[in-house]
């Protein structure tokens, strides 16, 4: 392996329980987004576009779909002989093995992976945000400041600041304090969970953390406070574009709806910063005679015979005659049968809404029909309700 200036480690996380039935069978980064993407396409494409070509994906929770989706890495130009994308599960050494205990421990267990590339810097990413970011610009800032750790932040409205991890800095952006969900925030700089570490320092603190039996082995709770205590050079890097945590049903739905506003708050048609995705290989979608489509995103392979308003339809979705889909996110292969109504809802992959069924309500929380679930003819799914195929 040749030396790399910077390698990325993507924390694909455990079970994304706030996404409910959408992550019952797949890891969160594999959740579909925006008509043709999955969440992980965003950090992976950002890496490719930032010329970072080694990405370790750390996961121990149902990696199958993620593994298949990533495959050889070719959709993101990450099928390289000297670099590429690697799914990194926990493993055994000698006779023993242990599951990842926390975010820091997951990286700690993969120190040998990182060392293969002899990097100067390590970029830490998470797999539940929608954003386009030039990590290379952040790396340049990290190098220019001579930082040990740079944390990407965005400025949130002051009234929301108490819901975030807030970084208090001096006038040179040097971090002097980190507060998790402070009642009285002193700053509105919220951490995005994107870190660049100088590797020698990171390695040192990972080893110290691992040696501490009382540690939760977490970046936010342990590593960052320890580095602050030791007076290491921690800086913020302010990111200004669109950024959305899609870790909850509501935020996932909202972020999809954001793509329907004009102009798009995050431009997914930008040829200079493409978001790559694995392609399902379907023919163009068909809008049938008499169908109506208003302010929507429709993907290849769809068959639309009914009415679609202000919705995002993923590849291969069918909306039959007389069906109405409004303010909805309809994931790949789902079928909305004749006369069915879907409103303010997420209909997951391969779900079937039978003729005349009603999913969701005009107001209230988002209704969710889980992957492969069927809503029988005439049934109703109220606002905020989640339907699990296995419970049927």
């Amino acid at each position: 392996m040749r030396k790399k200036k910077c390698v990325a480690m993507l924390l694909a996380g455990g079970q994304g329980s706030r996404l409910g039935i959408l992550t019952k069978k797949v890891a969160k980064p594999a959740v579909p987004f925006g008509g043709k993407f999955r969440i992980i396409d965003f950090p992976l494409s950002n890496c490719t576009n930032s010329s970072i070509d080694v990405v370790g994906v750390l996961t121990q929770y149902r990696p199958l779909e993620l593994n298949s989706y990533i495959g050889s890495g070719s959709p993101w130009d990450l099928d390289l002989s000297n670099g590429g994308v690697f799914v990194l599960p926990p493993y055994q050494t000698g006779k023993t093995g242990e599951w990842y205990k926390g975010t820091a421990n997951a990286i700690y267990q993969n120190i040998p992976f990182i060392e293969q590339w002899d990097p100067d810097y390590v970029l830490v990413l998470s797999g539940d945000h929608i954003y386009k970011m030039d990590y290379n610009a952040m790396l340049r800032a990290h190098i220019d400041k001579g930082a040990d750790l740079t944390i990407a932040v965005r400025e949130v409205p002051w009234e929301d600041a108490s819901r975030f991890g807030i970084l208090n800095t001096d006038e040179n952006d040097r971090i002097i304090e980190f507060e998790e969900k402070p009642a009285k925030p002193k700053s509105n700089k919220a951490s995005m969970g994107v870190y660049i570490f100088t590797w020698s320092k990171m390695r040192k603190y990972l080893e110290l953390d691992e040696a501490d039996p009382k540690s939760d082995n977490d970046f936010g709770k342990n590593i960052i406070p320890e580095m602050l205590n030791a007076n290491e050079k921690l800086y913020t890097y302010t990111f200004e574009g669109y950024w959305k945590d899609v870790g909850t049903i509501e935020s996932l739905w909202e972020s999809n709806m954001d793509l329907l506003t004009l102009p798009m708050p995050i431009d997914l048609s930008d040829k200079r910063w493409r978001i790559y995705a694995r392609n399902p290989g379907m023919p163009p979608h068909h809008i049938d005679k008499g169908a109506k489509v208003y302010n929507s995103l429709i993907t290849e392979g769809c068959e639309v015979k009914g009415i679609v308003r202000h919705s995002v339809l993923f590849a291969g979705v069918t909306v039959d005659v007389g069906a109405e889909v409004t303010d909805a996110v309809v994931m790949p292969g789902a079928i909305i049968e004749r006369g069915a109504v879907v409103r303010r809802a997420i209909v997951a992959e391969n779900a079937v809404i039978k003729a005349g069924a009603i999913v969701g309500e005009e107001t209230g929380n988002i209704a969710v029909v889980g992957p492969g679930a069927t809503i029988a003819s005439g049934e109703t799914v109220a606002a905020g309700v989640q339907i699990d195929a296995d419970a049927q």
Binding site: S269, G281, P283, P284, H285, H286, S296
Partner: protein, 372 residues
């Protein structure tokens, strides 16, 4: 299926396709909203499990090369994968073969160094979606020397330019008519042949040694008439559409607006692979209207689209109207413009309030990059 290789011969006579093929081989002609013609032949090979595919090219093959690239989209990029076989250009040879036999003769070294026992040889201007496995089984079971694929419902554009077989009850070919205006046989040749690689190589070398050029007439027909080779037919009853004129191109695209036809050509178990562009989904904005149309990813629709096919990245501005038309990649119809029965090639632009209305029988072709 390791024991089969594929050979696609491109560069067919394209005189009736006019401007559409002035800068590209028929194989590279954009079709069906996001594909090129060769995607159908290549994907059929892949679905048969064929890994070694040679593409024999003639002149004007640079857009074809650009499209197929390393073969990655078809999983044919490996060491045993796809090979482009360009014409050997000399001062005398401007890159045009005078017949299929010539094209094969120039590429016998590829046939020789391939390892597979059987070869599927196809033209590049017929749209189909075939898993050749069954035809190969029939070929072996019949102990045939050559198996010719035929169709009883093939669509072509140019009359009198087809070959028909007569087959007996065992599917053995007992007659062959080339270019007959009123053929006796009803089994239209798909110009797809299955044979042993070694036999194809021998027939090619013998034919060339005897100064022959025409595979159909000089090899197939002669051997059928003389009974010197066992030639069997295999009927393919799926969609087969020969793209050999502007009309057949237009009609094929329009036929895709019929859902049954479309689902027959694109069954979910045999997707047609093509070069990926990484466009976002199509966006419908404001007062857009869309009726009975096929729309690819990356389109941006604010106007009206009726009975049309839009390729990737097409922009239809507010108040623009597109009817009965085929609009290729990244073309733009600006505000208030109107087109009917048009074929717009890539990146062409119909300017604000422009009108281009043609009769159904004579669609207008606007060439690549042209601004009107």
């Amino acid at each position: 299926m390791k024991d089969v290789m594929g050979l696609i011969v491109t560069g067919e006579n394209d005189i009736h396709l006019g401007e559409l093929t002035s800068q590209r081989a028929v194989a590279a002609l954009p079709i069906a909203g996001r594909y090129r013609v060769i995607d159908f032949q290549l994907s059929s090979m892949v679905h048969t499990g064929i890994k070694n595919v040679g593409i024999i090219t003639q002149k004007n093959y640079s857009s074809l090369m650009d499209h197929v690239g390393s073969g990655r989209e078809w999983d044919l990029h490996g060491k045993q994968g796809m090979v482009i076989l360009p014409p050997f250009l000399t001062r005398e040879n401007m890159g045009v073969y005078s017949g299929l036999l010539d094209a094969l003769k120039s590429n016998t070294s590829f046939l020789s160094r391939s390892k597979q026992e059987y070869v599927v040889l196809t033209n590049s201007h017929t749209i189909y979606n075939i898993d050749f496995t069954e035809a190969l089984r029939a070929h072996v079971a019949n102990k045939a020397d050559i198996t010719v694929l035929y169709s009883r419902n093939k669509a072509s554009g140019v009359d009198g330019d087809d070959t028909y077989y007569t087959v007996d009850e065992n599917n053995k070919v007992i007659g062959m008519e080339i270019g007959a205006l009123a053929p006796k046989g009803d089994a239209a040749s798909l110009k797809i042949y299955i044979t042993k690689r070694e036999l194809l190589r021998q027939l090619t070398e013998q034919g060339a040694a005897n100064g022959l050029h025409d595979f159909e007439r000089d090899i197939l027909q002669k051997n059928i008439n003389e009974g010197t080779l066992e030639v069997y037919g295999y009927e393919y009853d799926g969609i087969a559409w020969q793209i050999d004129s502007i009309q057949s191109y237009f009609n094929f695209n329009m036929a895709l607006l019929d859902s049954n036809f479309r689902h027959n050509l694109f069954p979910s178990e045999r997707p047609i692979y093509t070069k990926v562009r990484d466009d976002m989904p199509a966006r419908y904005i404001g007062d857009s209207e869309c009726d009975n149309s096929l729309i690819a990813n990356g389109c941006h629709i604010e106007g009206t689209v009726i009975n049309s096919i839009l390729f990737r990245g097409v922009k239809i501005a507010r108040g623009a109207v597109v009817k009965n038309s085929i609009v290729m990649q990244d073309a733009q119809i600006q505000e208030g413009a109107e087109i009917d029965h048009c074929i717009l090639d890539k990146q062409s632009v119909i300017r604000r309030n422009g009108r281009l209305i043609a009769p159904a029988a004579y669609p207008i072709v606007i060439a690549k990059n042209v601004v009107i």
